[in-house]
Amino acid sequence: MIDLKAVCKTYWGDTPLTALKDVDLHIDEGEFVGVTGPSGSGKSTLLNVIGLLDSYDEGVYRLGGQLIKDLTKDEEALIRNHNIGFVFQRYNLISFKTVYENVELPLIYRGVPQREREERVMSMLEKMELTGWKEHIPSHLSGGQQQRVAIARAMVMNPKIILADEPTGALDSRMTQEIVNLFKKCNEESNVTIVLVTHETSISSQMSRCITMNDGRIEKDERR
């Protein structure tokens, strides 16, 4: 599913910063992978490269067998739309759109007809227990609810992969567990591959595989 070989990424500024150094990583379909490590260890950069939100400088990256290199922005958008769902720490919902409209957005960009969109959005909102909130805008919702909307938006496309960057970073412990459970449920029911970045060991310990990063390298790769 996700295959990285000797991937390097450097941010070129006044003082160049190498964020990924010779990263080799293979993730199979249906895996639930946690990525942990200290701040600045390259976790988010790794996630961005996997999610085609950022480019890499050296190495080879294949997603579902397809070589990801020198793609146009629109090609990247197409691949993202078809394969990847994103969940961010700060939810990143569009503030002036309702819960329903936020979840509907990726389906609109995929050109799904309205009736089908409605069915899929409603079913996803039901799954996330958000049906009663569908006409509300994000600011009316609690952090946990907003994150559930973000997960619903990521899941509505039936993606092969979900990339979550510190999805519980802004939530309390009760909400955190609720969101983690939700991810587990998605992984088990839909066999979707999940890569979740976190620096909380209590979360990473709940996953079938845990990758620890340090200084741009994969330090540990544990399977349970």
């Binding site: 988010s44 961005n48 078809h82 957005l105 609109i108 960009y109 007809p113 938006r153």
Partner: protein, 428 residues
């Protein structure tokens, strides 16, 4: 088929969603939208106001010289030679005859609308109660020009016009002077140069240039002084919209032909008098062109201000919406869709507020029109006329506003497509 259609639509918003998103984002940024809208309203308002004012100045001035523009343009009358030449002595009185007029008609009929032989004689009119000095003139030119309006009695019939009847139509001023009241002058007899004439009608000038002449049929005028075929002048009416260069050329051609025919020196300046209004009209046209150019520049500058204002505000909007744009990209939007969204928003703001500006501008012009009409109701010369703007201008203005919206939104839209998702997602 459905799959292919869906593939085509991928990464783009459907039309309905496109407009829904534009409306939603405008609603969200009401204050910003209001500010950019205000700039647009002001820009378009000024544009419409200056164009309308320019129209008013143009129409007002034109109405003042329309008579000259449309009717008399070149008038030739005989004078005296200023130098001896080809058998002519210095100071010799020249003449124009019916033959001259007829030949001019033959030669220049394709370059002029009418060529009139004119006979004008200064006379003394007398009635039982009073007398008045007047100029008797033949009637055909005024008839063709619709330059007079009968206010009492009746007009000449064609049979009367072609005959030598001692009948006349007199201006209201002379009617009042001779008979006390306009109505009292009809069918009354007056004496012109000792001979009785019937005043069968009274007229007033329908143009700003007042005609204060006793009008008689041409043949009657020709027989009045016993001067044979001699004319007072030959008037040449040009086609409307004849270019100035052609007017000058025609004048020179007529002059050359007359001088050649009469054996006058080409350098003689007083053998024939050419009265023409070309210079005056040209100067007026140039003045109006300058005013028009000035107002167009002024209008475009105000529109430019609107463009810059909207553009900077859309730029700010893009900056504020960096995260939203990144979310759209993450959700599968392509760059084109983002570009169109920002551009659409700019055009939408420009169009809505531009229309308000147009409405306010048109309303202001209408109010100004009413005021100006009241103020200039009795004025003979008007320097500012109808200021209303045409539908064509409104449509053109709408097109200009759309183009302005596109220009305003272009740079911000390009900026929006260059948003780096990973950086945008990190910012708060």
């Amino acid at each position: 088929m459905t799959a292919a259609l869906r593939k085509m639509k991928e990464g783009r918003l459907s039309l309905g969603n496109y407009f829904r998103d534009i409306l939603a984002s405008v609603r969200m940024s009401r204050r910003r939208g209001f500010l950019s809208g205000l700039m647009t309203v002001w820009g378009v308002f000024i544009f419409i106001a200056v164009v309308g004012t320019s129209n008013g100045i143009d129409r007002g001035n034109r109405s003042n010289y329309d008579y000259i523009l449309q009717y008399i343009l070149i008038s030739v009358s005989p004078g005296e030679t200023s130098m001896a030449y080809n058998g002519l002595i210095k100071g010799q009185r020249m003449s124009l005859t019916r033959d001259d007029a007829q030949e001019l008609q033959t030669l220049f009929s394709d370059r002029s609308e009418f060529i009139y032989p004119r006979k004008q004689i200064p006379v003394k009119c007398k009635s039982l109660t009073g007398s008045a000095g007047a100029l008797v003139s033949d009637y055909r030119k005024e008839l063709n020009d619709n330059a007079i309006q009968i206010t009492a009695g009746r007009n000449f019939t064609q049979v009367e016009l072609d005959g030598r009847n001692r009948i006349c139509i007199i201006p209201e001023a002379i009617a009042v002077q001779l008979f006390g009241r306009v109505e009292d002058a009809v069918n009354r007899t007056l004496e012109i140069n000792g001979l009785p004439y019937i005043a069968q009608g009274v007229y007033k000038s329908s143009h700003k240039v007042s005609i204060n002449q006793v009008l008689v049929p041409f043949e009657t005028a020709m027989s009045m002084q016993g001067m044979g075929d001699e004319l007072s002048s030959i008037d040449i009416k040009l086609f409307l919209k004849t270019p100035v260069e052609e007017k000058y050329r025609l004048k020179e051609d007529i002059r050359s032909w007359l001088y050649f025919k009469k054996g006058i020196s080409p350098d003689d300046t007083s053998a024939m008098h050419f009265e023409e209004y070309i210079d005056f009209i040209e100067a007026q046209e140039k003045l109006l062109d300058s005013i028009r150019l000035f107002t167009v520049i002024l209008g475009l500058l105000s529109l430019l201000m609107g463009i810059l204002g909207v553009s900077s505000i859309v730029f700010l909007s893009v900056k504020d919406r960096t995260k939203e744009i990144a979310v759209r990209l993450v959700c599968g939007s392509n760059k084109g869709s983002i570009f169109r969204l920002v551009l659409g928003e700019s055009v939408f703001v420009m169009l809505i507020f531009g229309c308000i500006g147009m409405l306010l501008g048109s309303a202001a012009l209408n109010v100004a029109n009413i005021v100006v009409k009241k103020v200039t109701a009795d004025a003979k010369w008007i320097f500012i006329g109808d200021m209303t703007v045409s539908w064509q201008l409104i449509l053109s203005c709408t097109a200009i506003i759309i183009v302005c919206g596109l220009i305003s939104g272009f740079a911000p839209a390009r900026k929006a497509t260059s948003v780096r998702i990973n950086e945008a997602m990190c910012c708060e």
